[in-house]
Amino acid sequence: MMTVFRIYTVIVALQSCIGLSSSLAYDADIEALTRKAQSAAVKIYGAGGAGLEAYQSGFLVSPDGHIATVWSYVLDVQPVVVLDDGRRFEGTIVGFEPQLELAIVKVDATELPFLELSDTVPEVADPVLAVSNLFGIASGDEPASVMQGMIAAVTALDARRGTFKTPYSGPVLILDLVANNPGAAGGVLIDTQGRAVGMLGKELRDAAAGVWLNYALPANVLRPVIADIVAGRTIVARSQKAVPLPADKSHALAQLGIGMIPDVLESTPAFVDRVAAESVAARADVRPDDLILLVGNTRIEDQRSLIDTLRTIDRRDAIVLTVQRESKIVSIKIQL
């Protein structure tokens, strides 16, 4: 009990200080910071429905239209991106990192306002602003929503115990503001220097306690990955140029021993339905219900793209599947 009380006291103290600046000189700065963050924030619209919001948030990380956002079901279709100035674009997913639940979407525009990603971890009690389009409140050229608070803790998000269902298990910034609402994922957390210090994660709820987590992924974790994707050093996209090999030279699902769920949709997710006993897939520990995300560095959007991608790989070569198994990301190497 004592510990709980002390945490409470500290947080109350923190709360008092973020709210200090009522009518003094800070105000102009917080407005300017707000505006700066809003100008780089974007609204992303994509797949959803049946209780899932078809929108999320993102923020520009380059002047050439690279947008950091969370990798989610919203991106299952080509997303529509609306910039702060109201301009609408069709976004292209140019990279993603399943372990970080990070996706980079690009729009075809230049000279855009963007945010620098901080390379340092903020400290506890650092004041922050969270900018996102939570609840989809803003549309068109309406600016994204801004909330204030501070870093309550910098800690590790331990996914392995199953407390929070997320593939991410690295460090997180715990926030004292209710930032992670529907549609807020992909929003940006900025510090008083106007640098992006984190990206708001998906809604997470403690399965046992029912508590919703307010958190962000630290920018210093995202930064090298984003830099690689923006610089084109990581290609996680369907290669348009790869030429299919003859069927008897390439990999194929049947040969690997993998059966997929029925391909009945225009874009059926690449869920494994069954794995043939004694097959190479079984030996490599591919399991039913695995969702295939990547083959090598190529993103698998659906079963069609999985089949097409396998057709481009020589069957003498090993393949590396990246799959999502419940909330974990698993890498599987298969050699015929």
Binding site: R6, I7, Y8, T9, V10, I11, V12, A13, Q15, S16, C17, I18, G19, L20, S21, S22, S23, L24, A25, Y26, D27, E31, A32, L33, T34, R35, G51, G86, V124, A125, D126, P127, L129, L134, F135, I137, S139, G140, D141, E142, P143, S145, V146, M147, Q148, G149, A152, A153, T155, L175, D176, L177, V178, A179, N181, P182, T192, D206, V211, W212
Partner: protein, 635 residues
């Protein structure tokens, strides 16, 4: 620069915050962070940075300044409650429609001085979720200073003070602090009513029970009326997204609310769509609308409404939804490269019966039986803004809160509540009104005012006939003579005379957009002076409206006699009548008589202007105004 406040400084903040009960924010923080290790505070005390000390002092002063005007509303009979804010020393307070409607006419209001006052409902705006109530018992109530909410910007500090979860049983309001997360927000009507347009979004904690209470700026000035929040799967508690009706909108409706009426909102009679190239294009327009009569057509681009620039359909709705029905506002639009500025008269969104029906549908059903609720009973099903979940999932997703929230917004008062005599004395029920008593007061004010100014002030008895003389304005002035008596209406301009003997002919003059429309205006004035509000016909005080689309807002008094409806617009300070409009047909322009007074308000007006729409058909300079026998020809 916003500073990095380190732990040594933080420890000092504790006592002041506890004193201010930042309840809302704290609870959410505790929930989210309790599982995570946080370094304990460094208790070593250092000198407080003077900047922090000054900021903290300023904030506490603002809270101190703001708090006395906050009202904790309780519905007698244990029917819930909410918050409110005093806006005048004689006890008028704003709150939400959805807070006051379950209370009926009577509620109990606590102030931070520890005293409880009876309050009576005055007027309601069900669409805008506003209500005006009056606290009884003092003429020196503390009241809030209103901010210019149009100047508020995202990122500015603000605070919400109120009665969340009806915690204020000790009458000490709860303060929560945050920033403006968004301005000019639009929130779709919840159910069929309660549209929040051009509203504020804040992360200052707003919980059930904060409804109707004030959103103040960092200096303690009133920015808006709290009333709605985005709740979803986390239950009916703050998730950092609350909304407040801007005080600018409340100012627009305040005059109408003082009328005791059930007030409706404005519609342009046209729909607009955002053009892909930008701009708000008219996508449909009623040919019976005033906008159509003023030349607005399909595919025109609306540029400005009520002095506010609009670029999208959302922005158009954001402006329109903050305007009361019947207002005339300035409108600028462009068609085929020509830009036009005009004044447009707004219609009502609802027919009168339609609004009353929607209202009764919006009210929560009465509790089935008095006494404690069965466990697990569904919490009230009202449409209150706070009760709203956001998005499409509100019906489908179960609420996290397993029990009915015992501390929510207002629930219907039980019928056994005894209404005090002081409240009964200030209440009169009438269809279409929240409280007709306050309309009667305004009618009496109008009667007194019209008799206290020219020409009423010059008469000590029934004036009988009128003879008004003047000359037309312009290059070639002509003499104008207007004679009014029962069954004798004459207008002579130069050598042309228009005669009428019945009011029906006056009606024709209005529909024909004829100069003789002036006869209808002046005769309404004459008969109102002679008959008073009792005998003239059906009379009511409408509220405050712009004159020719411009503020200062004028008091508007309406009287219906036969098929003609007359509106008198008078200045709220001088009470001087500045415009008389007579409507023959609701879907057509009224005749409008604009009256220009000289310095000496006890003397007859200097000029008059007769208009239909925006076209002047007769402008004259007055030279004489005679009554009774003086109007007879001398020969």
């Amino acid at each position: 620069m916003m500073r990095f406040f380190k732990r040594a400084e933080l420890a000092l903040g504790v006592c002041s915050v506890v004193a201010m009960t930042l309840v809302g924010s704290c609870s959410s923080i505790c929930c989210s962070s309790i599982c995570y290790a946080i370094e304990p505070a460094d208790r070593s005390v250092t000198v407080l940075d003077p900047i922090i000390e000054a900021a903290e002092t300023a904030r506490m002063a603002a809270v101190k300044r703001a708090m006395p005007s906050t009202v904790s509303i309780f519905v007698p009979g244990g029917g819930g409650g909410g918050s409110g804010v005093l806006i005048s020393p004689d006890g008028f307070a704003l709150t939400n429609f959805h807070v006051c409607s379950p209370a009926g006419s009577y509620m109990r209001c606590g102030l931070s001085d520890g005293r409880i006052y009876d309050a009576v409902v005055v007027g309601i705006d069900p669409v805008g979720d506003l209500a005006l109530v009056r606290l009884i018992g003092r003429n020196d109530f503390p009241f809030a200073e209103m901010a210019d909410s149009r100047k508020a910007r995202v990122g500015q500090w603000c605070m919400v003070i109120g009665n969340p979860f009806l915690l204020n049983t000790n009458l000490q309001p709860t303060v929560s602090w945050g920033i403006l997360s968004g301005v000019g927000r639009y929130q779709y009507p919840s159910g069929t009513l309660l549209e929040y347009a051009d509203c504020f979004q804040t992360d200052a904690a707003i919980n059930p029970g904060n409804s109707g209470g004030p959103l103040y700026d960092a200096d303690g000035r009133l920015l808006g009326i709290v009333g709605r929040a985005s709740f979803e799967k986390r239950g009916r508690v703050n998730v950092g997204v609350g909304y407040a009706i801007s005080i600018e909108q409340a100012k627009n409706f305040l005059g109408d609310l003082h009328s005791g009426r059930i007030v409706d909102h404005a519609t342009l009679g046209a729909t607009v769509a955002t053009d892909p190239e930008g701009g708000a294009r008219v996508s449909n327009i009623l040919d019976s609308s005033d906008a159509f009569r003023r030349g607005l057509r399909y595919n025109d681009t609306i540029l400005e409404i009520d002095g506010r620039t609009v670029h999208s359909a959302n922005q158009v709705q954001n402006v329109l939804a903050t305007l009361p029905a019947g207002w005339r506002v300035k409108l600028s639009y462009r068609n085929d490269d020509e830009t036009r500025s005009t004044i447009v008269r707004m219609a009502s969104v609802h027919g009168p019966d339609e609004l009353l029906e929607k209202m009764s549908a919006a009210l929560p059903p009465p509790p089935p039986t008095p006494g404690p609720k069965a466990p697990g009973a569904k919490p009230k099903g009202d449409e209150g803004g706070d009760d709203e979940s956001e998005g499409d999932d509100k019906e489908k997703l179960p609420k996290i809160i397993p029990e009915p929230n015992p501390h929510g917004d207002a629930e219907p008062a039980s019928e056994s509540v005894e209404i005090p005599a002081t409240v009964k004395a200030l209440f009169e029920a009438r269809r279409g009104y929240a409280n007709y008593h306050f309309n009667l007061l305004k009618q009496q004010e109008f009667s007194t005012a019209i008799k206290g100014q020219f020409p009423g002030s010059t008469l000590d008895r029934d004036p009988g006939a009128w003879l008004v003389e003047g000359t037309t304005l312009g290059d070639s002035p002509r003499d104008v003579k207007i004679q009014l008596a029962d069954d004798r209406y004459e207008l002579t301009i130069g050598d042309k005379t228009i005669k009428a003997t019945t009011r029906a002919e006056l009606f024709d003059g209005v529909t024909a957009r004829n100069v003789s429309g002036i006869l209808a205006c002046l005769d309404s004035w004459r008969r109102m002076l002679r008959d008073g509000t009792d005998k003239f016909g059906e009379c009511y005080y409408r509220g405050r409206v712009p004159l020719l689309g411009a503020r200062t807002l004028r008091d508007c008094f309406v009287a219906v006699s036969g098929e003609l409806e007359t509106s008198w617009l008078s200045h709220p300070d001088t009470k001087q009548i500045e415009s008389i409009e007579v409507f023959a047909d609701r879907d057509d322009d009224p005749v409008e008589l604009l009256i220009r007074w000289g310095e000496d308000k006890t003397q007859m007006p200097q000029e008059m202007d007769v208009r239909f729409g925006t076209d002047s058909v007769l402008a004259l300079k007055l030279t004489g105004w005679k009554f009774g026998k003086d109007t007879e020809p001398k020969e």
